[in-house]
């Protein structure tokens, strides 16, 4: 059975075109999003790991070393089973800082462009061998299926096809913001084809060749010859080396890093992959021994590596053969495309961009896309070159071992990222160079026949197909030793330590609070325009601003620092972490530090801890709860409080402070005091910088009303607070101050009252004298005129006496020290007295008071205090009435209550003020016209008399004006059983 080369090429192209169409449809959203991002697709896409090994390499290795072939699958299975402690931390760092490749992670963690470049070069060198392995497998399979075909031609055609599809598949993402969903689905489909094909071949072999499991068992027992190496002892060395390399593969293989971390749809998918990928690989490995034995039984005349094709051909099944070819070609092309894409990204970020940062580009994204495409082509052609010169002479397993040993050199640094914060860039670079050099000299050069160092040095051991693993361990051991020693001996920079902390397991970054040169987000755009161009700069800042949900123009230092970090993260996804960091450092710089140290960015840490909350367990969780408790205590403190850093940045602004100032914490926390409204800024700035720790009764006009504030300050400096700052308490003393003022006013009034009583008393004596003299005059004359004059004099003196009596009575009231004296009070008399008192005033001369209270209406109470009630009510009615208005005071009895109504014809009280009129100090009169205490006093006196008060405005349903104040007091019944008791004894 054979196929022609053009037909194989056509089948390959058709299959890859189908894959590309699938990817294209996915990218256009024609396939439901939830399918594309489902954990199953993610797990299947990770199957890219197996590559050509799944179809060809595994059977070949099983023939050589029995179950040793499982090591290639078991190592990575172990890594995924340990995902929570191995892969999740890397994923967390990658997601937080937009690190899209292992080189990015290295450059970020070790704060060195050299680290990133070295990792890229090492990965690039090592991956060539893996790519060559794929090319070799496909070209060999083509020559086996089409015996006349030239392997070189097959290699070149396959490489060209891969270049075409890699360029089409990849380099489509332009801003690091979206995943290659299409690529992921295509790779997942690839994996499905691989698995389906190998399982189908296994099943057909089992049934057609052995007649089922029992037949296989019988054959195994009965066959005395070689049944593969499956009964042989496992070679410990190669097993361990392969296990280790496969374990490391989860982290260090560029295509695996890309698929595992960059294309990861969710942490949930990673959790599923922790057992899903091992299960997939188990299914992939299950038919391998059966195919091997099938090949032996059918006496397939091919190398065991290609038994998958050989068995299908021996069974004379062309469709199955073609399926196995497609599965192999698809596995190889999938691995090549993904690893080339990943490597092109690394080379772009860590080799091209550090050498040449794009400036003055119209469209930086387009430029990046084209550079990446060119790099993809260069990498695949380099792999083809390697294959033609070296790779085609080597066995598949040796090609794999060469590649994986090179990549294994990245494992110490990768583990150091999560587990060894003390490791530094010097150690890493020294270790990596040592390991890579050893790998090159002891494995790459000898196997490529370019130089045989062990032979030249006359070492007792030279690498060959059986003992290569020794050199794998030697290179790794040297790498680890040098990395450790140099890291311990050399000094770690501060920058690197903080990055190490940020990357360590469960660590939080502790950024410092420093002032940026830029004072607003607009400044950011101007500063970044220099390296990126105006359009790109504007676009990037807008993007970061939208991600952080910041306002159009941001000026708060804390938010600007966040914005700076976000810009760096976004640029890192675009240009790689080193270039992004340099660019941000250079163009979005900080002001030079004034002091020796800077404070921690409390807001940043708080926010980070907030994001971290559901991940904190044990002691950390308890401490976080404690932190939250104290924070809540401060926030809910009923006294306004805020804290301010040494640089004037507001760090805390509690709820009471929000209520007092009517400024939301959201708007000012992280901003400087300068950002506050002027009156607050002047007050707080002056107080924070002043020497006083307390300031009493500072007057501040807020909303047109004066407020009196007490301020207290405590500095936070000390051994535990080296960063300094102060905490400020603001007490609102306005109510107390107003009460004090009112008290003083009342005291003054009381003095005036006492004075008036004294004057009234003194005036009373001469008036009594005048009255007596007038009486005498009446007795001494019969002249009618003189008698009339004397009567008038007596009438006027009585009037003076009444006035004086009223004045003295009023002056006596308001003495709260005295117990109320309750006695029957005739309301009409109270009202008359109040009218008399009011008539003394200059105001309202033309108001007519109409007292309609019946004489019989009596209540039990303190007459003077009730007079005070009516004076206040009538005064209000008078003030509200128009000139010449009439005020009617009516009264009647309703059951046991006496109802007194004061009705005026004034403008009425607006509805919104009705609820407030009995509040102390509430007044609508001008400042010197009223104190706002009158109705409050009325209310309390009526309460004391067990009555209540109602106000209706407008006065009646018909009228649209006027106010009716209705008092309801318990009526006094002279003939009730209580009448015989002294009323005062009841209380």
């Amino acid at each position: 059975m054979s196929f022609s080369l053009p037909s194989l090429l056509l089948v390959s192209l058709l299959y890859l075109s189908f894959l590309f169409a699938l990817a294209h449809m996915t990218d256009r959203g024609m396939i439901p999003h939830q399918w594309v991002r489902s954990p199953l697709v993610y797990v299947l896409s990770l199957g890219v790991y197996a590559g050509i090994w799944a179809i060809y390499g595994a059977v070949g290795m099983a023939a050589d070393s029995g179950f040793g072939f499982l090591a290639y699958y078991l190592g990575i299975s172990g890594a995924f089973l340990l995902a929570p402690v191995l892969l999740n931390p890397i994923m967390r760092i990658g997601r937080a800082y937009q690190l899209t490749s292992l080189a990015d992670v290295f450059a970020f963690r070790y704060r060195s462009q050299w680290a990133g470049t070295l990792v890229t070069l090492c990965s690039g060198a090592a991956i060539l061998s893996l790519l060559s392995m794929q090319i070799k497998a496909v070209s060999t399979s083509v020559t086996l299926l089409s015996p006349g075909a030239s392997p070189q031609l097959a290699s070149v055609l396959f490489s060209l096809t891969v270049v075409l599809f890699a360029v089409l598949f990849g380099a489509r993402r332009d801003q690091g913001s979206d995943s290659h969903h299409g690529l992921v689905l295509a790779v997942a489909f690839d994996s499905l084809i691989k698995l389906g094909a190998i399982l189908l071949l296994g099943a057909i072999t089992l049934i057609s060749v052995f007649g089922g499991l029992d037949g296989l068992d019988a054959w195994l027992k009965g066959y005395s010859g070689q049944i593969g190496a499956l009964e042989a002892r496992i070679n410990d060395g190669s097993w361990r080396a392969l296990m280790l390399m496969s374990f490391a593969g989860a982290l260090v293989l560029p295509h695996m890093y890309h698929m595992t971390f960059s294309e990861n749809p969710s942490p949930r998918a990673m959790a599923r992959a922790s057992w899903g990928l091992p299960l997939y690989l188990l299914l992939l490995a299950l038919p391998v021994p059966v195919i091997l034995w099938g090949g032996i039984r059918l006496a397939v005349d091919m190398p065991p590596n290609f038994f998958a094709l050989g068995v299908a051909m021996a069974l004379d099944r062309p469709a199955l053969t073609l399926l196995m070819y497609i599965a192999g070609m698809s596995a190889a092309s999938g691995l090549m495309i993904v690893s080339t894409l990943a490597l092109a990204g690394m080379v772009l970020n860590h080799v091209v961009l550090p050498l040449r940062t794009p400036r003055d580009q119209d469209d930086i994204y387009r430029w990046l896309r084209w550079v990446k495409r060119v790099l993809i082509a260069i990498i695949i052609f380099a792999a083809l070159l390697f294959h033609e010169v070296i790779g085609k002479h080597l066995d598949l397993s040796i090609l794999g071992a060469l590649s994986l040993t090179g990549l294994l050199q990245l494992l110490p640094g990768a583990l150091g990222i999560i587990y060894w914060p003390e490791g530094n860039r010097r150690g890493l670079i020294a270790g990596l160079v040592t390991g890579t050099l050893t790998w090159t000299l002891t494995l790459v050069l000898p196997f490529s026949h370019a130089g045989h160092l062990p032979v030249w040095l006359q070492l007792p051991l030279a690498p060959d197909n059986a003992n290569w693993y020794i050199f794998t361990f030697v290179s790794l051991a040297l790498n680890v030793v040098v990395f450790t020693v140099v890291s311990v001996v050399s000094v770690t920079t501060k920058d690197e330590s903080s990055a190490a902390q940020a990357c360590s397991m469960g660590a939080l970054s502790r950024p410092q609070r420093r002032e940026l040169l830029a004072t607003s987000s607009d400044d950011f755009i101007k500063q970044l325009a220099e390296p990126l161009g105006k359009n790109v700069s504007h676009r990037e800042i807008e993007r970061a601003r939208n991600q952080l949900k910041l306002p159009a123009v941001e000026y708060r230092p804390y938010q600007l620092r966040r914005l700076r970090d976000q810009v760096e993260i976004n640029l890192s996804g675009l240009l790689g972490p080193s270039v992004a960091r340099d660019m941000v450092k250079r163009h979005l710089g900080y002001k030079p530090m004034a002091g020796s140290g800077t404070a921690q960015d409390i807001q940043y840490v708080e926010r980070a801890l907030g994001d971290y909350q559901n991940q904190l367990t044990g002691l950390a969780g308890e401490l976080d709860n404690l932190r939250r408790h104290y924070r809540q205590t401060l926030q809910n403190l009923p006294i306004p409080a805020c804290s301010v850093g040494d640089d004037g940045e507001i760090l805390m602004w509690n709820h009471a402070m929000e209520d007092l100032t009517r400024i939301a914490a959201e708007d000012v926390v992280g901003a400087r005091l300068l950002a506050l409204p002027e009156h607050w800024h002047l007050l707080l700035d002056d107080f924070v910088n002043g020497p006083d720790l307390h300031r009493y009764k500072h007057r501040l006009d807020l909303g047109g009303r004066p407020h009196w504030l007490n301020l207290h300050k405590s500095t936070l400096s000390g051994p535990e607070h080296s960063e300094g700052g102060s905490i400020i308490l603001v007490e609102d003393q306005t109510e107390t101050r107003l009460l004090e003022d009112e008290l003083m006013h009342s005291e003054r009034l009381a003095s005036v009252g006492r004075l008036a009583a004294g004057v009234a008393h003194e005036v009373g004596n001469p008036v009594t004298g005048i009255s007596s003299l007038a009486q005498n005059l009446k007795l001494e004359t019969d002249d009618v005129n003189i008698l009339d004059t004397a009567n008038q004099i007596q009438q006027q003196t009585r009037r003076i006496s009444t006035i004086l009596q009223s004045l003295m009575n009023f002056a006596r009231t308001g003495n709260h020290a005295q117990a109320n004296r309750y006695e029957p009070v005739i309301i009409r008399r109270c009202v008359d007295e109040s009218i008399n008192l009011l008539s003394l005033s200059d105001k309202g001369r033309n108001i007519l008071y109409q007292n309609e209270c019946p004489e019989s209406l009596t209540v039990l109470g303190d007459e003077q205090r009730l007079v005070q009630v009516f004076v206040n009510l009538l005064a209000n009615a008078r003030d509200a009435s128009p000139d010449g208005g009439r005020i009617v005071i009516g009264g009647n009895r309703e059951g046991y209550s006496a109802i007194i109504e004061v009705l005026d014809a004034g403008g009425g009280i607006p509805e919104d003020q009705l609820d407030h009129i009995f509040e102390p100090f509430y007044t609508t009169k001008e400042a010197n016209q009223g104190t706002g205490l009158g109705l409050s006093l009325v209310y309390s006196i009526i309460e004391e008399h067990y009555g209540n008060i109602q106000v209706e405005s407008p006065a009646g349903p018909q009228s649209e004006q006027g106010t009716c104040v209705r008092l309801r007091l318990p009526a006094y019944e002279a003939d009730t059983e209580m009448a015989g008791v002294n009323p005062n004894q009841r209380f």
């Binding site: 499982l70 089973l81 068992d217």
Partner: protein, 58 residues
């Protein structure tokens, strides 16, 4: 970090002794697919751990 050290130790031990464990398992005369059973057991354990994992855990 205590738990991670324990995990590290366990993984190292399994790694070092894995060839011996597999050899022993194969030489017991078990069926050819018996190594896959150990592997499947590990996967089942991984599945169980993932299934009962508290979302708040690391």
């Amino acid at each position: 970090m205590y738990i991670y050290r324990l995990v590290f130790l366990l993984v190292l031990a399994i790694y070092i002794f894995s060839p011996n464990i597999l050899d022993w398992w194969v030489t017991l005369g078990n069926a050819w697919y018996s190594p896959y059973l150990i592997w499947a057991g590990l996967i089942a354990m991984g599945f169980w751990l993932e299934w009962r994992r508290d979302p708040n855990e690391f």
